[in-house]
C-alpha cells in the first residue's frame, strides 16, 4: 500500500507517518508536485491555522490534488485537511478551500471551551466505508476550534455539548463522498478506532 503524505508545513507529521507505517503502508512524505502526480493514495494532514493551506495554492499542489481526485485517487484529509475540502473557513476568509463540498467551516459558538480538546464519540452513518467495522459511539481524539457543518457528505457526527446542554453543537467528525474523505479528529491519536479508520482508507477501492 503506497501512500503519499503531503507536507505543507502545518505542524508535525511524525505521528501520522508512524501510524500509517505501523499499518504496513509504504509512506512518501512530500511537497513535490511530481510526487503528488504519481500518488496512489493521498493523505493531507495538518494542524493549526487554516491559512497554512495557502501553501498548497502557492505551490500548485491544489490543482494537482484536484486532478488526482477527479481521476479517482483516494484522498484523506485530517483535521485542517478535512476543513480544506470545504469552500473555506471563517478562520482565513481570504484563503479558499478545495470546495469539494460547498459549505463553510465556522468557529464553535461562544459559551463553551474552545478549542474542543479530547475524546468525543462518533455517530456513524451506516453506509460509511471509512468507518466499516467500527462500532457506533466509538471515541476519537479531537483538537480544533473551527468545525465543518453536518451535510449530506457527513460520514460521522460528533456533538460538542456540555453535560446537561440539550442544544449541543453538532459538526462533521468525518466526511466521505466516493474517493474524497476527511476526518476532523486525529486517527493517528485515536487508539484502535483511529487505526481502523486509517486501515479502511488504505484498503479503499473504487466500487
Amino acid at each position: 500500500m503506497r501512500v503519499t503524505v503531503i507536507d505543507y508545513k502545518a505542524g508535525n507529521l511524525t505521528s501520522v507517518v508512524k501510524a500509517l507505517r505501523h499499518l504496513g503502508a509504504d509512506v512518501t512524505v512530500t511537497e513535490n508536485l511530481a510526487d503528488v502526480g504519481s500518488a496512489e493514495r493521498i493523505v493531507l494532514p495538518g494542524v493549526g491555522h487554516f491559512a497554512a493551506t495557502q501553501f498548497l495554492e502557492d505551490h500548485h499542489l491544489k490543482s494537482a490534488i484536484q486532478e488526482k481526485i477527479a481521476a479517482g485517487t483516494p484522498f484523506l484529509g485530517i483535521c485542517v485537511g478535512l476543513q480544506w475540502l470545504f469552500a473555506g473557513s471563517s478562520e482565513a476568509p481570504n484563503c479558499p478551500g478545495l470546495a469539494a463540498f460547498p459549505e463553510m467551516c465556522e468557529r464553535f459558538a461562544p459559551g463553551k471551551k474552545v478549542p474542543h480538546v479530547g475524546w468525543n464519540s462518533l455517530a456513524i452513518r451506516p453506509a460509511s466505508r471509512l468507518f466499516a467495522g467500527i462500532p457506533e459511539n466509538s471515541f476519537a481524539y479531537f483538537t480544533h476550534s473551527w468545525r465543518a457543518p453536518v451535510t449530506s457528505a457527513t460520514a460521522a457526527v460528533t456533538d460538542y455539548g456540555e453535560p446537561g446542554d440539550l442544544q449541543g453543537e453538532t459538526f462533521s467528525a468525518a466526511v466521505e463522498h466516493r474517493n474524497v474523505m476527511g476526518v476532523q479528529f486525529h486517527p493517528e491519536k485515536s487508539g484502535e478506532t483511529g487505526l481502523r479508520v486509517l486501515r479502511n482508507f488504505l484498503e479503499w477501492r473504487a466500487c
Binding site: S121, F139, Y141
Partner: protein, 256 residues
Amino acid sequence: MLTKRIIACLDVRDGRVVKGVQFVDLIDAGDPAELAARHAAAGADEIVFLDITATHEGRGTLLDSVRRTAQRIFVPFTVGGGIRTADDATAIFEAGADKISINSSALATPGLIGAIGARFGAQAVIVAIDARRKGGSPEDAEVFVAGGRKPTGRRAVEWAREAESRGAGEILLTSMDSDGTRAGFDCVLTAAVSQAVQIPVIASGGAGNATHFTQVFGEGKADAALAASIFHFGIHDVRTLKEELQRDGIPVRLPC
C-alpha cells in the same frame, strides 16, 4: 459528549521510570515504553512523560526513550522537563511527541509559548503551573519553579491567563499543597484557574481515590486529570477508575 480525560504520568530519569504508575507483574517496571503501552491498553486517554534528568548529557537518552515510547502508543503523547528553547521542543516533536509541556522556561521566556506554537500549533503547547496557596484564596496562589523550590511572586490565575493569551493550548495545574497527600485535588484552585481561561485545564496533585476524580471534574471544573501513584493505592488501573467515574455520572471514554 466530550469526555473527561484520565492522563497517566511517568516520571523518567536517565531513561527509566523512577516513580509514578507501575505494575508489579511487569518484567521491567522501569521501562517507559513498556509502561506507556500498558497504560494506553488499560484505557489511559493520554500519556505524559516527564523527564527529570538533571544533566545535559541525559538529553540524548531522553530522545531515545521518547522515540521508543512514541513507537508503542497511538494516543496523545506529551513530553515535559528541561525544554528551554524552541529547538529543544523541535527535537522532542521529531522524536514523536504530540505535545510538549513547559514550566520554568515559559516563565523565564514567555515568548517561547508562541514560538513553539507558531511551528507546531497551539494545541501542541502545554504550560505547566506549579502553585501553592497554603489555604489562602485561590486568587493569591503563587507560582513556583525549579521543581517547586523557587517562588516567583507570580499569581497562578493571572499567569494562566497570560499563558493563554500567549498561545498555550492547555494548562497543566499542579497543586503543591495537595501533591503527594492522596487527600484529593485542590478543587478550589482548579476551578479558579479553569474559569479564568478558555483553554482546557488538567488537574494534578492529590489523587487518592476515584471520588477525588469525580470531585475535580465536578466542583473543580477540570477538563482532564493527571494520575500517577494512585495506582499503587487501591485502584488497579485506568479502566477500573473510569468504571467508577461512569457510575458517578462523569462522561469518560468507555469502552476504551
